[in-house]
């Protein structure tokens, strides 16, 4: 896809976008303590003295977090650093109990990588990954519980996060959205993050700058904590426009941190570079440098699942369109559902049923795929009945509606309602003969050249059979009889 340029009064502008995505590592317990990392518990009920920064408390690395960070790094086709260091990022805030955040700075666990994003026009683009590092989350300050006081909830304090930093390789809001969507799909496939942006398990910091095409990079602004794909797009669109207006109005962009206002879709300044903290990073003396064995990495590599891009390629090879394949692999669950449905069934037909009939029915009833009343095995069963001519495609749609409403198997419904297709040539011939006997005038018209009447005879026959006559047999018989 060509660069989407923004028109300004002085000509075209190019956006340059980089993203820092915080993804909560999917584990039961926190990064450095045994407290639960689950979402949604009552405030301050999942806090160990370690998470609350009590005197004499020490962090101990949760090795599962390290394993999942490496797994994610491999999924991003990135370099795994066998030597990494946890450092302290020092600043004061009530929801930061230790007075520092344990993070990785000079030596992250994962280095450069690359992922491919899928754009709305069907094209793809490679986006570079700068690094991935592991760090602990802060607690949460609640400013709306009391008129004069702020409350602090430390449940989140110490939760394991991966910060995934992209290179500034995106040039439109759509590309940024596609990047976040792809990243989310990858971590979900890897089972390293649940990707639930509305619960805060994935949050984005968006870096935006603008320049005239071919110019050096402009000054960037960082928009903090954007928590949906839609908001990422909105924030970028607003911010790029704002920067262009400032520059074209004779101003200059100040490097600063900005906040996105979800109510009106605008961004506003939070703090400028001059007010930026001096974080006084230094290696955390409570934790030794993290040294991984190559064998540990290789073991993880050998258990990596098939990732969306590989799956998409395989689906296309099965005969699916690039679009259908893309839709199916976008969600790990949808792809898995499809694979079950297509087991011993025609993949193209399976894809059609999953992406149109089933998706439509779910959409209409506001259900998600995992709430589907029709399981993948059941849908596969229906498709088998079509394939072996037990029912026609038309009847199948009615059967599906019945399945969706009742949760029953297709075979049960077909049996119970007597919808089994008639394939007995003798029985069908009888009906054909009846239809022909009832319509001598139509036969005459047909024979005088009105070919289209063939459909009329087919329709009448099927109708008389209650829809159960096998259409192919009906066709054959009618052709034979009408040509004699």
């Amino acid at each position: 896809m060509a660069h989407a340029l923004l028109k300004g009064e002085t000509g075209d502008w190019e956006m340059v976008i980089g993203l820092e995505v915080h993804a909560q590592i999917l584990t039961k317990s926190k990064l450095f303590s045994g407290a639960s990392a689950a979402f949604g518990a009552a405030p301050n009920t999942q806090v160990s003295p370690i998470d609350a920064g009590f005197p004499g408390m020490l962090p101990v690395i949760n090795t599962l977090c390290i394993e999942k960070a490496v797994r994610t790094g491999l999924g991003l086709n990135a370099k795994i650093n066998l030597y990494s260091v946890f450092e302290r990022k020092n600043y004061f805030y009530p929801d930061l109990p230790q007075g520092y955040q344990i993070s990785q700075y000079q030596h992250p666990i994962v280095g450069e990588g690359e992922i491919e994003i899928d754009l709305p026009d069907g094209s793809t683009k490679a986006i570079g990954i700068e690094r991935l590092h592991v760090e602990q989350d802060a607690g949460k300050s609640l400013h709306d519980q009391h008129p004069a006081k702020s409350y602090v909830d430390l449940n989140r304090s110490g939760n394991p996060l991966m910060e995934i930093v992209s290179k500034p390789h995106m040039n439109s809001a759509e590309e940024a959205a596609a990047y976040v969507t792809k990243l989310r799909a990858i971590v979900r496939y890897l089972d390293t993050c649940d990707g639930n942006m509305d619960e805060g398990s994935m949050r984005c910091d968006v870096n935006v700058s603008v320049r005239k095409p071919g110019d050096a990079l402009g000054t960037r602004c960082e928009i903090k904590n954007v928590n949906s794909v839609r908001f990422v797009q909105q924030a970028i669109e607003y911010e790029a426009r704002r920067q262009i207006e400032v520059i074209e109005g004779g101003g200059t962009i100040k490097q600063e941190t900005r906040l996105f206002d979800t109510k009106n879709g605008t961004t506003r300044a939070m703090r400028s570079k001059e007010d930026a903290h001096d974080y006084r990073y230094f290696p955390d003396p409570d934790l030794l440098p993290l040294k991984l064995e190559q064998g540990f990495v290789d073991n993880i590599k050998s258990t990596l699942p098939e990732l969306p891009d590989a799956k998409k390629k395989r689906f296309i090879a099965l005969g699916l369109s690039s679009y259908d394949a893309g839709v199916l692999v976008a969600e790990k669950e949808r792809a898995a559902f499809f694979e079950k449905v297509s087991n011993n069934n025609d993949p193209k037909m399976a894809a059609n049923w999953v992406t149109t009939e089933l998706a439509g029915a779910l959409n209409k009833t506001g259900k998600s795929l995992d709430e589907s009343p029709v399981s993948a095995e059941q849908l596969g069963g229906l498709l088998k009945l079509i394939a072996d001519n037990t029912i026609s495609g038309k009847i199948a749609k009615d059967v599906f509606a019945e399945m969706f409403a009742s949760g029953k198997d297709a075979a049960t419904i077909v049996e119970g309602k007597g919808l089994k297709q008639v394939t007995d040539t003798g029985a069908i011939e009888k009906i054909v003969d009846e239809v022909l006997a009832e319509n001598p005038d139509k036969i005459a018209e047909y024979k005088s050249g009105k070919d289209k009447l063939f459909g009329f005879f087919v329709g009448q026959t099927l109708k008389k059979s209650g829809g159960k006559a096998n259409p192919a047999i009906v066709n054959d018989l009618l052709k034979k009889k009408l040509s004699s």
Binding site: P55, G56, V60, P94, G99, V152, R280, P285, L288
Partner: protein, 494 residues
Amino acid sequence: MTKLTSLTIKEALDGLKKKEFTATELTEAHIKASEAAQHLNCYITETYDHARAQAKESDARYAKGEAKLLDGVPIAMKDLYCTEGIRTTAGSKILENFKPPYESTVSGNMFRDGAIMLGKANLDEFAMGSSNTTSAYGNVINPWQRKGDNKPLVPGGSSGGSAAAVAARIAMGATGTDTGGSIRQPAAFCGITGIKPTYGRCSRFGIIAFASSLDQAGPFARTVEDCALLLQSMAGYDPKDSTSVNRPVPEYFKSVGQSVKGLKVGVPKEYRVDGANPEITALWDKGVEMMKAAGAEIVDVSLPHTKYALQTYYVIAPAECSSNLARYDGVRFGLRVEGGNLNDTYEATRAAGFGKEVKRRILIGTYVLSAGYYDAYYNKARRVRKLIWQDFINAYEKCDVLLTPTAPTPAFAIGENEQDPVTMYLNDIFTVPASMAGMPGISLPVGLSGDGLPLGLQLLGRPFDEETVFKAASALEKAASFTHLPQSLMNKAA
């Protein structure tokens, strides 16, 4: 029978086993002695009732024949060790009313082994000091006095209360922590024995942090053997401390009394500083002769980066402390002084809660980690630290242990050396290098100064080779046969 308070731990354990006295009697004797020595201000919090309850349990175990390694031994616990449900102050006003909901691993190990806690021992605030004069709970007074002078002397620091309590015979042993000499220097000032084991030998979990890469727990006692028994209980791998090392704890007491024939004792030339106190130099020479007489081989060695140790220590330790002490913000525990807004509250709380020396080190530490200064100070100090470590490793190619003075002077009077911080910092000149390198070191009393104060020598060993350190120390102890008592005890005896 000898007074219960003058027994060694080894003697007390034997007496308890033989039912010559009970743990309760032993404990009561120490409580009584503690009450009589209250003016020394050894304890911030006395835990006598707790001790009595522990003694009762101990007696029950002796009755059943299930006594543990330290069963019934009354000790002082440095108030830097978190003790579950018992006030733990770190010598600071900011933790005046802090009762930890958890037990430090090391104190827990000692309680598991039957030790009895008489009280939480006074210390320099957050272990920052060499004289115990920075405590928010008052100075500790050294039980020793200069001949013909009743000026109160410092016990050394930071573990001043622990050392004074053991010297004054109000506790049989004590725990300390050593960051730059905080066990060895007070041991020398108080005429007792104290060992800082190898960094990583004891868990730091539950010990309030000063400088995490240097802090290490260790015991005080009146003999090398008693120190070995206490360390045996304190040491060990702890999965809750990532810097603790997973290797078995040897039976240290077995090293005591072993021959040092052929042991190579290194004498580092860099510890012979210009303008050194001649008494200290003479004592050191005497110590060398004693080791030689005991069969050891004396080797001249060089630790060329020694002269940078103190400077780099005063970059690294404050840097870590500035970060470690950020958690004392008045939000979740400890002192809180309300201000008009968040920053005011932080400032008011920390201004009121921290003393002068702690504030000074937080400022130094913040400075050396700041953008633009990090490389010049912190990073350079880290590189120098590595060279100091390498010095020791090179020296241990030629010798098994190093023998040096512990402190450059005997105990000084309260108020002396306060004119500028650097004078005070110089007290740690001989102890800091081993701390920077993580090496184990023991200090034991070897003689008296002209005015009657104890002087200590230090033996340093290879990483995790505390056994050789104990072996060498017990030989030196035997040769020195230091039996002097603090004046206060001699007066009482008279």
